[in-house]
Symmetry: C2
Subunit: 433 residues, 2 copies
């Protein structure tokens, strides 16, 4: 799956840039870097003689990108498109000594405000999940300015942050709980919304789900606000570009209640859920930020990006039964026949690899039946077998491990071609042809 | 380079298995897990409410493999061939708050004592470095039992460990310093060798460098020791297998003084140096171990493996000027012409990608000259340009970014073929044809 993601990111011109797992604590805890919850989960890192509190493990890939981009953007130039696949760390239920380490796959385009980059972000999510074999997912879009405009129009501009964070939990905790939270806002120390205000926010959030027609509705009610109009135009633009790129419309949805809890998003935002597996939450999320690196530089660095949560996606696919056991990537097992010099299988395998065909030599001359069992369980497709008789005649047997059909006495001089053509047969058989 | 390594490991049937960066401290500090020096450099990891001293960052990929293999070997079955590419962490000069995080590429074959697996380990080192474009390297081989036999024959069996660790520094600190260390052995608290003993050890280590003939020499002097004879036979076997696999003899050397400081090696050992860049030390090292997982299980798990030090290799190649700036992996830049709807370049790029050709759309309709400059600096090969005139005629211009030659007015319906064939021209031009 990671190979599919790397190929996809590369095909769009994103280059891999890895930053260290360890960052200076002040980088991670700077203003706006992470939510309070995330900051509470930071892992401190110390070694003998080191200063406690100086170093920590990254909790996401975005803050390290911001630090990196702020430092190097002049050499890098813009647009700067990078992807990173790496572990991030958050401490959970610390009393039990449990910890969480999970893999994020981030890609970002920095230094442009173009809606083309917004559309491409959704397109990359689509292409990556498609390439990874995820069926039936929906990429949900919204624009922060539309929600902002609604809150403005209802005199709620001062509580945007807390409304966003509460709305973000809608799918998880349900309408009533969000309603209560909006009214209390106790956890935020905010003023709390009047009951009718809170209901209106929720009605707006819940009513605005669907296709492009949702944008027509909000245009009628809020389109006179220039910021809202910009948000609507951007989303229409993004949808048109995605159409042009062949992303099926049924893979896309507009949801005016999509909030993304993080404060730094300022434009288009994305979430991705898998049909019938919505309980796993979003497996690929992101959005546009006006100024990613404001913590580290006075230079303005707008950008857009998203993050695919690999562990969550794998857990979902595992539970859904969509994960194929991939096993070995070497299609051929070269057996080691008792009584035959290991040089024979070793050199045949080297010839196959030189021809671009992955091949594994079984290391010990145990019974051929056991070696075939190993090959079948590991996912090898074919076995090359040379017994003493075959060795003396310069031939080999080629066994299809699925059908157990064996072509006997093939000439070793045509090894590569024989294996290649039987692999084609196997591929057709696997495809059900 | 990592892609080349992954391809190579996969072609030999190694499967990628990643373990967490964080391990329990007791796993990392268990008996024999690491040298005293490494253990002093461990990074402790704590979060709010966590127990200090409970968790730490891994300092290599071998100890986590041992833990993993001990726990799961029954489900995995043997031979178990895995590779892992990941960061490891060691604290250095802690007073200055400096830290080291570096990437190791490990591959191991567990559950076999076959010399075929020893030979394959050297073959994989050769294939991986070849695929990564490293010129002129030498894989040096030795067998632990030969050195053991020599020490035995000279009554030095009791000081094997300290002799190995001193010999391991020979290339780095020179003969005189090693001689002094062997005589003092103060750092180890050992008894120290008599001056003539120490000289004899060094003479043996230094004399035994060369090709297969070195083995004939040691056979004459120590071959009556069955352990030494086994070591000699194994190395001859390995050389014959590597010959059969087409690994050039001048890429291989025997060095009877090659020690590998680590205690857990018990058979064939490997180091790899690059010609004229020996000062960087070994860039790929490993060996056979009788019992990797003895810390974690009573089951015996023999195996063989090696580790490529990515950072050291990259530093070497950088200093030698062998690193090619790879830049983008998308060969085509699709320009966004001012005044042309972005849908046009967006959909052309999507068609190229669907045909397997990486393509990047420039996100903003700035001047074409600047976009071409971006493409050249990022390593794009071709640019697809559609101005207002081309858009109305359904054609496009295709520019070779290196030669600046532009084919004008190509029909958009043959986009994929036109780009494919000009990419072939570029490849020929780059190859100097």
């Amino acid at each position: 799956m990671l190979a599919a993601f790397r190929r996809t990111f590369g095909a769009f011109g994103f280059v891999p840039i890895e930053t260290p797992h360890i960052e200076r604590m002040e980088v991670l805890t700077g203003k706006g870097a992470g939510s309070d919850e995330v900051l509470r989960q930071i892992f401190e890192v110390t070694n003998k003689g080191g200063t406690p509190g100086e170093l920590a493990l990254r909790f996401d890939l975005t803050v390290p990108l911001a630090r990196f981009a702020a430092k190097h953007i002049d050499e890098l130039g813009t647009p700067f498109k990078r992807y990173a696949i790496g572990s991030v760390f958050r401490g959970e239920r610390p009393a039990k000594g449990r910890f969480r380490e999970f893999v994020q796959c981030d890609f970002d385009t920095i230094g442009t405000e173009s809606a083309v980059a917004d559309a491409e972000t959704a397109q990359v999510i689509h292409a990556a999940l498609d390439a990874a074999g995820v069926p039936g997912f929906t990429i949900t879009l919204n624009h922060r300015k539309i929600l902002d405009g609604f809150l403005n129009a209802h005199g709620l501009a001062g509580v945007t942050g807390q409304v966003l964070r509460s709305l973000d939990k809608l799918a998880k905790i349900g309408r009533d709980a969000v309603l209560g939270e909006l009214e209390r806002s106790a956890s935020e120390g905010g003023p709390g919304l009047a009951n009718d205000q809170a209901r209106r926010v929720l009605d707006f959030a819940e009513s605005g789900r669907g296709g492009a027609e949702v944008l027509d509705g909000v245009e009628a009610s809020l389109g006179s606000d220039p910021a809202v109009a910009h948000g609507i135009a951007t989303l229409r633009n993004v949808l048109a570009l995605l159409d042009a790129a062949g992303v099926p419309r049924d893979r896309l949805a507009i949801d005016l209640g999509l909030a993304r809890g993080l404060d730094y998003y300022t434009g288009t935002v994305f979430e991705t859920t898998v049909k019938d597996w919505e309980k796993f939450g979003s497996i690929a999320s992101g959005g546009r930020y006006d100024n990613l690196a404001s913590l580290f530089t006075t230079r303005r660095l707008p950008g857009v990006g998203a993050s695919i949560g690999l562990d969550r996606l794998l857990a979902l696919m595992d539970e859904a039964g969509w994960l194929k056991a991939t096993g070995t990537t070497a299609p051929v097992l070269v057996a080691q026949f008792p009584g035959v010099e290991p040089i024979t299988p070793f050199s045949l395998a080297a010839r196959l690899r030189a021809a671009g065909i992955g091949a594994e030599v079984y290391p010990d001359p145990i019974s051929i039946g056991k070696q075939m069992g190993y090959g079948s369980s590991r996912g090898h497709k074919l076995a090359v077998i040379v017994g003493p008789d075959e060795a003396s005649r310069g031939v080999f047997n080629l066994r299809n491990l699925a059908t157990r059909v064996e072509d006997k006495g093939l000439d070793q001089s045509v090894l590569e071609d024989s294996v290649q053509s039987m692999l084609e047969v196997v591929r057709m058989q696997e495809a059900g042809v």
